[in-house]
Structure formats: structure tokens, C-alpha cells
């Protein structure tokens, strides 16, 4: 309330509370805003009686309970809902329709034979759904049965399950527990009712947020206080907005406003606070996090989309064939009874049902169309979807099980979270990679610093080593030439402290006191120890201090300060305690710094400051920040070391290090007083420009700083990243780096991982031109935007011109663009030119890009290019990108789970991408595409014989085969081999996949699933059907077919043809695959044997079941030699053309995998020259990666020799 606000400054003098320190993020005085007037109105009608569950007014039954369900189905909805899901697929729906129609007299076969396979297929998919949902259910149960302490009346708290919570309950949440529902914070273990909250599960941010309860309730810090406590909350209705909350609390007749500052969201975690008390406001599905949850975008692979097209093509063929059949059928039926004369009298055309009535031949033809559509339904593979799903699940298991993608240190195997993108992994054209945590480890190591113009630190960074390699010189050890002798000394030990890789005897072990600018060094490290928001945690047993920091850089600083003798060991609400060396006495003393204000870091300010009061009452403002904002804030007399520091900072950036500038100033009492009044005024202001007013105030105090020096923190590259990038580049995959880092760092990381190299032409697009800068000073937003856009467009056009000018020159280009320019480059009218430019460049690096921009770039590449994109990242800022890309790969590293949760596949290290794409991706792509082609082939082979037979029955829709032969074809006699193909086939082994990365281009170019190939397989199916049908027909017609003079009937022709088909499709499979394990043998030969078993057993069933097939095999087919002779002949002749084709192709026009197979076969794999020959099969030179770098070097050597 306003009254409290005026009292506060006096209070702070005496006891400064932490909540008052934070300037930007933290609370200001709660007050009634405009929104509060809406309470009670529409959208703001929620009423909560806190702590009065039994109150007659508390009509809490209106609100949902706290049970949270994330399952797709419940017991009751499972059947209808999952059936609906199933029949949304057009093919399944078609089979449903034919299944229903099969109960009508229209059916060419019995209803059960049509329904059983459908039930089988649908049932299998539904079981899968049910199992998946059951897993979710188990997780739900675990969550809903977590326990929390709830007020049971009279000040007693009992432990209760989460699901039993109801609105209005008072709960007590302990440290490191999750909040069970959305709560209004009443009080905490801190006096001012603040608490720290980790919201990683909500937004992926690892830094802690501060929340604060109302002043009136902050005194309720004991259980017993809640005896008789009563409050009445009116607030907004449940909604999905995480950052808004409007409500009022009525307490003892007075009304207090509630804001998001008092709201604790479900799924966030209480940190650094012993306990809190809260009142439940939203439960279960009303909570903001649940309201917010959206189903992740469902992604479908390119192959699956194309498969849909094939299915439509098949539908078209079915319709076409049915139509042809119906027309002919109509005509012949009409002719059966003309002018009172019956032609085919044995059909009794004069008294027939409407389906065959010559007088209504057109109607009969229309009915016939339906019948024929049912009969030809075998063109569409009913088991395709379910087989593909089975295959993909098994493939994912292989990916999860791959021991080469298991990360020992973190105990993390690869995890394919969605299985429906496996084959897409084999078609990736562009990889969009995050930098931090993906290419780099996100483990920050304090490695160098520059204090008072002297550079300290002798560690060698990975980047420096890479640069050393790049320059072709031995290690560039030391940048500081003054102390060459040190550089020769080998480093005694590996860094043992995480986050600290600093070696310099001059200032370590307290030696700094003898350095020339010891006082500056002292201030420098003191600043590192004091200016931060880190919270120390002391291990009670070992007395060891660990730090809880918002970011790894911060932790690295505090650790560095500790290692150099400035140990920050305690933080209270108002103070920071540091053990440090006294410069005068040379003893370790404990110093207490009173923290008066904290001006936090944010991305616009790019700096953070604290205002502290030293023990002697001196007021200091300590500030650290990015170089570009810091140098301009230095005072005239604070620029003593500016030149040297700038040089050092540039050097560090060159080496790929993150730099920060450290500076300070002293404040006098008066100045501080003015500032403090202003800032509290700004903080308590209610107007909309509060933010900017705070900015303004802080701006005024953070100036005239005195430079201390600069820090350099290494962002370590992950293991094997350069090698992996090289392999991927050889595979022809383009790699774009999208990072939030600044340009220099990004470029350096680019060099380190060989995405950039010296002879590459860098096209840099930024807005760092003087004109723009001067415009920015005027602050006219429209003018800036206009000028910026023009500038960006001009730069893009220039870049394109360069690209064009270079033409076929092997000189590769690299595009580097910063976030500001990117914002304009992504405008609708510019983005296509930008994309053209970017696609023309070998490497693209986008720096300073926001999460949104990352997603936009991804979308641009995906839609503009039509090629498959893969995004890889580890942080919450990559979520948009991961979801936008065709495939999102999450790094399951140390940062939150958010990226992994929204990814399709999670791996532990960037380097596993190589195996994931080149091996698993290639295999899966090959398997699935071959499998789909084969599926259609086998169904056409089967279905088309039906059609051909029809032609000999005047298209009366007599099936050529027994009903159960028809329906079990897809399920028994041809399904397992194709599944085995989908799961196990390998064209070349993993070793060769990695040895010849160019093989990957088969997927990118989609050669294995091109229309040419698909139609080729379909053609194969058609002619196989033709050969089988006509050879069988001619061989069997019309003479006796055994020595007993028996002539073949329908069941014998059908049985013979069916046998031939089973043999042909299975042997075709054997010809098509190149990898025979025992499993392949079992399923292929097994399928054929199963057919013989089936026909035998089925034939032995009573004739009423087996009808025409009764004993047909035992009695008629098997004893007849001609059956076997015909089978042999037909099968061999049918496969002959394919065999000739593949023999010629394999020998004379091998595809890339064929070449590798030859190499392996002929044992030339160890012959480097041969391998090289095969490797360099592309007219497009590889442009990035260190192989390319070597090539470039060779070129330049040659050029210089010839010159």
C-alpha cells in the first residue's frame, strides 16, 4: 500500500533487505493498477477463500482438482478417440469403408477376411498407442502422488498428496521442492517474504528469480500462525500467460493488490529459501504451466509426405482400373439380355439382382465400381503404416543402443525421442547449430586477465592451438613477450579446479602483492569477488564452498577470485563476506561489504554493477560489462590503461575468449543519497515508463568509471567438434552457426572448428557504420530503421555481386551477419535475396541472434530451400529453432532439459552427430525408402494379377484367389522380410559410411526415393504381375495338368499363381538387399515355408471354412509335377529382367554405395589412392572443414610454385 511505501526508506537505513537491493528484476511496491478495477468482471471472476476449505461460501467444487493428466486418452475415451485417430489416415479410412462394404452383397470376398487384417493392423497400432499412453500415465501418477505439507486446521500441517490439494489450501513448501500448484506467496523463511525460484522447467532459464509476498502476510512465519488465518482472494481466471497475474487479497477487511510477483508457478522450484507458505490459487489444469503446454509440433518426414502422394497415385490407379472394369462389365452385362434374347443364359440374366441386371446395366456398373474398388484394395498396402511404425521404433532402439553414441562421462546414451524422423536424418542438407553448449562445452574457464595494462595468464586455449595449426606455426604460447622465460616452463599440473585454468606465477599464491600495480590488482579481484549475484553454499562437512551462479561465467569469476586469494564465502541479505589478503599487513582478513544496490545484468545494459559500502564507510560502485559499453563510461582519469587493455581485449577475442571489462568508481555519501532517492522513486513509480526511468537513473550513476582491467574466459570447444564438422562438410552438409555471442567470438569459434579459414572471403554484414551510429544518437527510430535496412540490403547485394563475380572460382565465401542486421535481412522483401546469398556461401555464421531470430532463420532455410534442415542446440533459447527445423537435435548436456524436451533426438555431444547422420541417418533413409518402394512393388505385383484375372471374367469381380489368401498376403507371406529389410539392411557397414562421407549425398539428393526409382519399382511390380499371370495361364490352359487327366479349376490356377507370387516377392527381396544375416534368411525363406504350411493346414480345415482351397495343395498341387515345374519357370523368368538390370547397373553404372561395395569386395579399401578416387567423386569441391583447408593450402602452394 502507498502508506507503507513512504515508510520504507527510513527502515532501510537500519536493516537493508535483499529484496530492496535488486533494482531491475525485483519487486517494486505493489499497488493497484488499472487491471485491478476489472476484478469481478468477466475474465477476472475467480474467488478463493484461503484456509477455509469448509466455509459454506467456498464453493471450491467449481474448480478443478489438482490432478494433472498428460495422457492423450482416458479409459473411457481411449477407444473412440484412438479409433478416430486411426481412421483419420486416408488409407485406413479406405479400408474401413471397404470393410463395411464387405458386409453387403457387393463384396467380392467374405466380410471376415476383409475385416480381420484391418482389425489386426488397427489393433497393433492401438496397442502401441496404449503402451505409450500408459507410460505417460505412470509418470502422471508419480507426479500426482508427490507429497506436500498442507494446513489441516489449528496450525497443524499434514503431508498430503498433490492431487488432493484444493483451491484455498495453505501449503508449506520446503527448499528444493517443486510447487504443487500455482500459489500466492504469503511468507517465507526470510523476513521480507522473499524467496528464490528456479523456473528452468518453465522457460529454461537457469538463473534464479526472486518473488516476494505481501507485506501484510510476511509475518506468518510459523505453522501456528495459520490457526484462524483467513483471507479472501479475487483474481483473474486461469490463463496461459506466465508473466501476468491480477488479483486482490482481502485480509481483515482491507484489500491488497496481487501481482505476478506474489505468484509461484507450478513446476518451478524453491531454491535458497528454507520454506515458504502459500495459498493455492490455481490447481491442476488451471495452472499456468498446464494451460501453457502445447503439444509439440508433429513433424513428418519428407519420405512420409511423399508416401502419401504415392498412396494417392495408387488410389488413382485403383479408381482407373475399377472404372475400366465397370465400363466393360456394364457393356457385357447389358449385352447378356437384349431384345428378349439371353446370351449367357447360364447366368439367368432375366432374373438377377440389381448387381447383375442387364436391364439396369448402368446401375450394375456403378455397384460394380464399388465391388472392384474393394477387390483392388490390395493395391494399397494395408500394413504399410503399421510396418513402418514397427520398423521406426526398432530403428530408434538401435539408435538408443549405439554404444558409439554413448557419453561415458555424463552417462548419457543417445535417445531418439520421436521415431518418425529417422529417415529424415539421412537427408539433412543444412545443419543449424547453436554455439554455446553445442559446439562448445559451456564450461567457462577463467584463463587470462589484463590488469592495469599487464596481461596475465599463460594457459593455451583450444582455439589458440587451432589457430597455431592454422598458421602452420608451432604453438603460440605467450602473448606477453616480457616474460619469455616463463613460457618455456612446462605446466606442472592440469587444472584441478573446474572453471579455472589460469596459470601465472606472478600473481598466484599471493605473489601479486609484489607486482607494480598491486593496488589495482587488489581492486580487480575484489571486484570479481563482490560484484555478482552468486550465492555460496558451504558444505557442512568439508567446509568447501561451492557457488550457485546465474551463469557459468559468473561462477568462473568468483572461483578465479577465490583461487587468487579473495574468497567469497558468505552472503547475507545485505552483506557479502570475503576473505582477502590485506595489502598492508599481509595477513588474511575477513572483510564485510554491505551491498546497498544491485544493478543487474541484462542484454540491453550489457553490464552489471553493485554499490557497496566498505567497512570504513566508503561507498563504491563496482561495474563489469562488455567492452563496447564500458569504454565509453570511463572517466577521463580512469583511462590510464585503456590502450593496453583494448589491445589485450582484442587479442583475447582473437583467441576466441569471452571478455569483460572491469571498472569502479567511488561515490560520496551525497551522491549516493541522491541516487538512492531517485532509484527508489523510480522503483516505486507506477507509470508505464518505470523501466526507462530506472534505466535513466542507473545510467547516471554508472559513469566516470575507473578502468581496472579485463577478464578473459574460455568457452571450451567440445571434444571432436572439428573432426565432426570436417566429416559433415565432406558429406556435403552445410553448417550454419547461429549464436547469441558477439561477432568476434563467433568468428573465432568458426576458425577453431574449421568453418572458416584464411583464404575464405568473408562477407560481413553489420550495422557498425558511422552513419548508422550517428543516426542512432539522434534516436529517431524510423530513420534508423530505414537507413539500417537500406544498408543491409546494399551489403547483401554487394555480397551477391562478389559471389557472382567469383563464379566458379574455388575461393569459398563465408557469410557473417549480426543480429541487428539479421532483423532487417529477415524482412519479407529482403529474405529471399539474403537466402540466395547465404546458400551461395560455404559457411554462414549469424551472431548476436535472438532465439526468435534463430527460429526465423531456420524457417527461412527450410521453406526457402525446400531442403531438410537439422537444428542442434542445448538451451532453452534453441527451443524455437529445434521445433521449427525438420529435425531438432538436443544436446543433453548440463543446461536445462528444455532443449532435450522439445527435441526429436537427444545426443550427449555434438560429435555424435557424425555417426547419427552418416551412419544411422543413411541407413534409416535407405531402409525406409527401399522398404516403401518394395511395399508398393509387392502390392502391385499381387493386385495387378487380380486385375488381369478380372479381364478373363468379363470383369465380374471374381477374386483370383481364395478369400484368406487375399487377406493374409500382406500380413503373413510378405510382411516380415520387408520389416527385416527396414530394420537390418545395410548397404555398407558403419565403417565405410564414415570413411566415405559423400555417400550421405544419396539421401540429400534423394536418389533412393526419387520418382524415377519409385516408378521403376512400380513398373517392376506391373511386369512381374504380367509375367506371372500370363505364364501361369498359358501353362495351365486348357489341358490336363496332372497325369490323372484332371484339368485345373479356379483354385488350382489361383494356388499356382499365388505360390509364384510368394516366391517372386520374397526372392526379389533377397536380390534387392545386400546384407544377409541369419534373420534375413529366416524371414525370407520362412515366409515361403509359411505359405506352404498355411495352404496345407488351411486345406485341412473343414471344407466349409476353406471352401475352394480344401485340400487343394495336398491333393491337387503338390502331387502334380507340373505345379512345381511351372513354379520354377515362372519365378525364374519373372526375376530375370531385374537380375539383368541390377547386374548391369552394379557393374557398369554403380551408384555410390555400389562403388564402395566394389571397393570392399575387391579389398582396395586400404589402398589410399583408390579410396581417394572414390571419395572425390563430386564435381563440387568440399568447401569447409580442415580437409578443405588442406586442399586450399595445397592449391596456394602450387600457385606460388608456378608463379
Amino acid at each position: 500500500m502507498a502508506g507503507n511505501g513512504t515508510k520504507r526508506p527510513r527502515k532501510r537505513r537500519r536493516r537493508i533487505q535483499l529484496s530492496k537491493l535488486y533494482t531491475l528484476t525485483c519487486t517494486h511496491q505493489a499497488c493497484f493498477k488499472q487491471d485491478h478495477s476489472q476484478i469481478g468482471g468477466p475474465g477476472y471472476s475467480r474467488v478463493v477463500f484461503c484456509n477455509e476449505p469448509d466455509s459454506p461460501d467456498a464453493d471450491s467444487s467449481n474448480y478443478s482438482d489438482n490432478y494433472v493428466r498428460t495422457t492423450k486418452y482416458t479409459l473411457t475415451t481411449f477407444l473412440p478417440k484412438s479409433l478416430f485417430e486411426q481412421f483419420r489416415r486416408v488409407a485406413n479410412f479406405y479400408f474401413l469403408v471397404t470393410g463395411i462394404l464387405s458386409f453387403t452383397p457387393l463384396a467380392p470376398y467374405t466380410a471376415s477376411s476383409a475385416i480381420v487384417p484391418l482389425l489386426f493392423v488397427i489393433g497393433a497400432t492401438m496397442v502401441k498407442e496404449a503402451v505409450e499412453d500408459w507410460r505417460r500415465k505412470k509418470q502422471d501418477i508419480e507426479v500426482n502422488n508427490r507429497r506436500v505439507k498442507v494446513h489441516r486446521g489449528d496450525g497443524n500441517f499434514d503431508s498430503k498428496e498433490w492431487k488432493t490439494l484444493s483451491v484455498g489450501d495453505i501449503v508449506r513448501v520446503e527448499k528444493n521442492e517443486f510447487f504443487p500448484a500455482d500459489l500466492v506467496l504469503l511468507s517465507s523463511s526470510y523476513e521480507d517474504a522473499i524467496c528464490y525460484v528456479e523456473t528452468m522447467n518453465l522457460d529454461g532459464e537457469t538463473n534464479l528469480k526472486v518473488k516476494q509476498g505481501l507485506e501484510v502476510t510476511s509475518s506468518l512465519r510459523e505453522d501456528i500462525n495459520f490457526k484462524g488465518f483467513e483471507a479472501f482472494v479475487k483474481c483473474e481466471d486461469p490463463n496461459a500467460n506466465l508473466y501476468s497475474f491480477v488479483g486482490t487479497m482481502e485480509l481483515k477487511g482491507a484489500k491488497y493488490p496481487l501481482s505476478p510477483q506474489q505468484l509461484l508457478l507450478r513446476d518451478s522450484k524453491l531454491r535458497n529459501t528454507e520454506f515458504i507458505f502459500g495459498a493455492v490459487i490455481f490447481t491442476g489444469h488451471d495452472t499456468k504451466v498446464i494451460q501453457n503446454s502445447t503439444d509439440p509440433p508433429s513433424k513428418r518426414s519428407m519420405i512420409e509426405k511423399k508416401m502419401d502422394k504415392i498412396i494417392y497415385l495408387m488410389f488413382f490407379m485403383v479408381v482407373l482400373m475399377s472404372f475400366i472394369g465397370s465400363v466393360i462389365f456394364g457393356v457385357t452385362t447389358r449385352d447378356d439380355f437384349k431384345d428378349g434374347v439371353m446370351r449367357r443364359w447360364y447366368l439367368k440374366p432375366d432374373s438377377s439382382s440389381v448387381f447383375f441386371d442387364p436391364k439396369r446395366a448402368h446401375v450394375a456398373a456403378i455397384y460394380h465400381f464399388l465391388t472392384a474398388a474393394m477387390l483392388y484394395s490390395y493395391f494399397i498396402p494395408i500394413s504399410l503404416y503399421v510396418s513402418i511404425e514397427i520398423v521406426k521404433v526398432l530403428q530408434s532402439i538401435f539408435i538408443n543402443q549405439d554404444i558409439h553414441m554413448y557419453y561415458e562421462e555424463a552417462d548419457k546414451p543417445a535417445r531418439a525421442r520421436t521415431s518418425n524422423l529417422n529417415e529424415e536424418l539421412g537427408q539433412v542438407d543444412t545443419i543449424l547449430s547453436d554455439k554455446t553448449g553445442t559446439l562448445t562445452c559451456n564450461s567457462m574457464e577463467f584463463i587470462k586477465c589484463s590488469v592495469a595494462g599487464t596481461a596475465y595468464g599463460r594457459g593455451i586455449t583450444e582455439v589458440e592451438m587451432a589457430m597455431g595449426r592454422r598458421k602452420g606455426s608451432p604453438l603460440v604460447l605467450q602473448s606477453n613477450e616480457d616474460d619469455v622465460e616463463y613460457s618455456k616452463e612446462p605446466f606442472a599440473e592440469e587444472p584441478t579446479v573446474k572453471g579455472f585454468n589460469f596459470r601465472d606465477e606472478r600473481i598466484m599464491n599471493g605473489n601479486w602483492v609484489t607486482e607494480p600495480h598491486a593496488d589495482v590488482i587488489q581492486k580487480f579481484f575484489r571486484l570479481l569477488a563482490v560484484c555478482h549475484t552468486v550465492i555460496p553454499e558451504v558444505d557442512e562437512d568439508t567446509e568447501k564452498i561451492s557457488y550457485e551462479a546465474e551463469s557459468p561465467d559468473e561462477a568462473a569469476f568468483v572461483i578465479a577470485a577465490r583461487e587468487l586469494g579473495f574468497e567469497f564465502y558468505n552472503r547475507t541479505q545485505t552483506t557479502i563476506s570475503v576473505r582477502e589478503l590485506d595489502l598492508v599487513t599481509g595477513k588474511r582478513v575477513e572483510r564485510l561489504y554491505k551491498v546497498l544496490n544491485v544493478l543487474e545484468f541484462n542484454s540491453t545494459r550489457k553490464r552489471m554493477s553493485v554499490i557497496v559500502e566498505e567497512e570504513d564507510g566508503k561507498l563504491l560502485l563496482l561495474c563489469k560489462g562488455a567492452d563496447n559499453v564500458m569504454f565509453e563510461r570511463l572517466s577521463k582519469n580512469g583511462r590510464e590503461f585503456e590502450e593496453e587493455t583494448k589491445d589485450h581485449v582484442n587479442e583475447y577475442a582473437d583467441a576466441g575468449l569471452r571478455t569483460l571489462i572491469l571498472a569502479y568508481r567511488e561515490l560520496d555519501e551525497k551522491e549516493y543519497k541522491v541516487f538512492n532517492e531517485r532509484i527508489s522513486e523510480a522503483k516505486s513509480s507506477v507509470s508505464a515508463d518505470r523501466e526507462s526511468r530506472i534505466e535513466e537513473v542507473t545510467e547516471k550513476v554508472e559513469k566516470d568509471l575507473i578502468l581496472l582491467g579485463a577478464t578473459a574466459v574460455e568457452d571450451k570447444l567440445q571434444n571432436g567438434v572439428p573432426d565432426c564438422i570436417d566429416k559433415l562438410a565432406q558429406a556435403g552438409i552445410k553448417i550454419w552457426v547461429l549464436t547469441g555471442d558477439k561477432m568476434e567470438t563467433a568468428i573465432n569459434i568458426g576458425f577453431a572448428c574449421s568453418l572458416l579459414r584464411q583464404d575464405m572471403k568473408q562477407i560481413i554484414i553489420n550495422l557498425e557504420t558511422p552513419e548508422i551510429h550517428s543516426l542512432e544518437k539522434t534516436g529517431e527510430k524510423d530513420a534508423i530503421a530505414k537507413a539500417s535496412k537500406e544498408s543491409v540490403l546494399l551489403q547483401i547485394i554487394n555480397g551477391k555481386a562478389q559471389l557472382k563475380y567469383s563464379g566458379g572460382n574455388s575461393n569459398a565465401f563465408a557469410l557473417i551477419i549480426d543480429g541487428k542486421s539479421l532483423a532487417y535481412a529477415l524482412d519479407d522483401d529482403v529474405k529471399h535475396i539474403f537466402l540466395e546469398l547465404a546458400v551461395g556461401c560455404a559457411s554462414v555464421i549469424c551472431c548476436r541472434s535472438s532465439p526468435k531470430q534463430k527460429a526465423l532463420v531456420t524457417r527461412l532455410v527450410k521453406s526457402g530451400n525446400g531442403k531438410t534442415t537439422l537444428a542442434i542446440g542445448d538451451g532453452a533459447n534453441d527451443v524455437g529453432m529445434l521445433q521449427e527445423a525438420d529435425i531438432g537435435v538436443g544436446i543433453s548436456g548440463v543446461e536445462g532439459m528444455q532443449a532435450v524436451m522439445s527435441s526429436d533426438i537427444a545426443i550427449a555431444q555434438f560429435r555424435y552427430l557424425e555417426r547419427l547422420l552418416l551412419v544411422h541417418g543413411h541407413w534409416c533413409y535407405r531402409r525406409i525408402s527401399t522398404m516403401v518402394c518394395y511395399f508398393f512393388y509387392k502390392n502391385i505385383t499381387f493386385g495387378f494379377t487380380l486385375f488381369l484375372y478380372e479381364a478373363y471374367t468379363t470383369f465380374s469381380a471374381t477374386p483370383a484367389y481364395n478369400d484368406w489368401f487375399l487377406s493374409l498376403y500382406n500380413v503373413f507371406f510378405s510382411s516380415l522380410p520387408v520389416i527385416a529389410l527396414g530394420v537390418f539392411d545395410q548397404d555398407v557397414s558403419a565403417r565405410y559410411c564414415l570413411k566415405f562421407p559423400l555417400l550421405y549425398q544419396e539421401g540429400v539428393q534423394n536418389v533412393l526415393f526419387s520418382w524415377r526409382r519409385i516408378l521403376g519399382w512400380m513398373f517392376n511390380g506391373f511386369y512381374s504381375a504380367l509375367i506371372i499371370f500370363f505364364l501361369c495361364k498359358i501353362s495351365l490352359e486348357p489341358q490336363a495338368f496332372n497325369h490323372q487327366g484332371k484339368t485345373p479349376g479356379r483354385e488350382i490356377l489361383g494356388g499356382t499363381m499365388y505360390t509364384c507370387i510368394v516366391w517372386v516377392v520374397n526372392l526379389q527381396m533377397a536380390l534387392a538387399i545386400s546384407y544377409f544375416t541369419l534373420i534375413q534368411h529366416i524371414v525370407i525363406w520362412g515366409s515361403i515355408i509359411v505359405w506352404y504350411l498355411f495352404i496345407t493346414v488351411y486345406g485341412e480345415l473343414p471344407a466349409i471354412i476353406s471352401t475352394g482351397a480344401y485340400r487343394v495343395f495336398v491333393e491337387a498341387l503338390a502331387p502334380s509335377l507340373s505345379y512345381w515345374v511351372i513354379t520354377l519357370f515362372v519365378v525364374a523368368s519373372t526375376l530375370m529382367p531385374y537380375f539383368i538390370y541390377s547386374a548391369v547397373q552394379m557393374r557398369f553404372f554403380p551408384m555410390y554405395h555400389g562403388m564402395i561395395q566394389w571397393l570392399r569386395y575387391e579389398g582396395q579399401c586400404n589402398d589410399p589412392e583408390y579410396c581417394d578416387m572414390v571419395r572425390q567423386r563430386s564435381i563440387r569441391p568440399t568447401t569447409v572443414g580442415f580437409t578443405a583447408r588442406l586442399e586450399a593450402k595445397k592449391r596456394s602452394v602450387r600457385r606460388s610454385e608456378s608463379a
Binding site: N201, S351, F355, S902, F984, S1035, F1076, Y1110, M1151
Partner: protein, 350 residues
Amino acid sequence: MPSNTASSSSAPAGSADSSASRTKSKRPKYSKFTQQELPACKPILTPGWVILTFLVISVIFIPLGVVSLFASQDVVEIVDRYDNDCVPTPARANKVAYIQGVSDKSCNRTLVVPKKMKQPIYVYYQLENFYQNHRRYVKSRSDSQLRSVKDENQIDACKPEDDVNGRPIVPCGLIAWSLFNDTYTLSKNNQPLTVNKRGIAWKSDREHKFGKNVFPKNFQEGNITGGGRLDANKSLSEQEDLIVWMRTAALPTFRKLYGKIESDLEKGDTIHVTLLNNYNTYSFDGKKKLVLSTTSWLGGKNDFLGIAYLTVGGICFFLALVFTIMYLVKPRRLGDPTYLSWNRVPGGGR
């Protein structure tokens, strides 16, 4: 670990993982199966294999072809088309009227045995352009009624030949109704030649599909008579003509067994056939043929299979030669890059 977060609907990744890691390592177990390193043969079509395959096929096919062709040549077959000739010249203008009329339908044919025919000699009738495989026709029968007396009322499928004035027809349906009813009486050199009509149907049909105590009832008693009549005193399982007829033919041209002659016929023997030309094939322009044929191990006379075997065997032999020459003359260029698709499409790989 996170509980059900915003994206928890997507997977059960979080909590289960962490608990597992505490207890045991998640390192995948090594096995050749999971690492996809199972021992496998990886055949590729090397010249040796290709040539060998062709050779093997030709080595198998050519002898098989020769044997088949010989078998087919051994079969002696006499085919006599009589549908046209057995209609008296004056009636030929309207054959349908003739066949539907009541005039005497008997007809004499003379066949000369071209070669010695060893017994058993099979007598067939061959119909052409007769769609026994028409769906309406195929379905127009009642298997249960044929098998047992108590199911004689199961006549749903038989329409319109299901009942006569409410009494079920046994056997019902269009197939039985249209039973072929030409008869042949054979004599050799004026000696009657017995045609044995037993054992012409499949055993399984006789024993399991046609009941021993099912007798024809109300057969051909409707207003239109279709084809042949049945002896009401003989059970269906003994009516082998019917059983043969009821096993529907696959194609519109078909032969069906009429009987067996169980004595040899010498070359030059003349056989007189007195046939009753009852069956109407004229309204749908069908041909009728009488066929006398011996059989071989391969069945009746059909040169196609032998010739086809020889042809394919020959082609394979030829291909074996061609491939040998190709492999010798034109050594493989190890992967001409121009065949790779990404090289064919300039800029396609970008």
C-alpha cells in the same frame, strides 16, 4: 528432475532417467545385434556370380525344357470341334432356335487315331467363351446343402435357382442348373468303347463336399430347364459329372473330364462318336469340342512349357556369353562420376 513440464506430454524422459542413473549406468549393453554388427554375408553381383547364375539357370532349364517338350510330344490328343457341324445345315441360320427346339439332337462324328494311344485315354469336353468364373455364377451354389441333407434349406446364395414353389432345389444354384448335358457314345470299329465315368472327380470332392446321402430334389423342375438332369436315385457323391462341373473353371476356355477309356487305341483306329448335342453354347457363341487325350507326367499336351523353358534357358546361356564378353572387353571404370546424380544436376547439390 523436472516433473510434468510444459512439454511433458511429449515424452517420459525426465524423472525416470535420473532415478535410473543413480542406480545403474545407462551404458548400452554391447552385443553384435544391438550394434548392428551381426555376421552377415554381403553378396554383390560380381561377374563371376552373374555368369554362374546364368549358366546354372541354363543348365537346369534346357534339359528341363527338353524333357517337358518330349513329354508333351508323347501325349496324343484328338480334338474335334462339333458345335457347328452338329447343327443340321438348314438350322444353321438360327442355331439358338435349333438347340432350344425339340428336334432330334443326335449327331455322328468320326475320329481317326493318329498315333497309338495308351490307356487311360481321357475324354474331355471343351467349352470356349463360357464364363464359369463369373462372380454371379461362382457364388451361386450352396456347399452346405451339397454336403448334408439337413442343410438342404440353405439356399440363400442360390438365387434365382433356389426353390421351386417353396421347395428347395437340391443341388441349387446356377452352376448345377447349367450342368453340361451333351453325351458321347463311343465305338471303335463298330465295337462299343466303354467310357468309364467313375473316378473323374477329385477324391476330396466326392468324399467331403458332396454328401453320400444327399439326393437330387426338385432339380430342373422350374419353368425353364437349364442343362442336364440328374438321376434322383443316385446320391450326389456318385454323380461325378455334376461334381466335375461344379468345380468351376478358372478361365472361359476350359476342359472338363467326361470319362476315361481304359483300353489302348492303335494308330489308324476310327472312332465313331454318337453324341447328343443338347447343350446350348450358341446363344453366347461358345465352341464345343470333344477331346481324347493321353497324359504324361506333366499332364496333357502343351508344348508351351517346354518351349518356354528352352527359350529362357537359351537366353540365359546367351546372356552368360554376353556378360563374359562384356566383362572381358569393357573393364569397369571404377565409378564414372558422371553417373552420380549429384553431378548430373549442376548446382543441385548446393
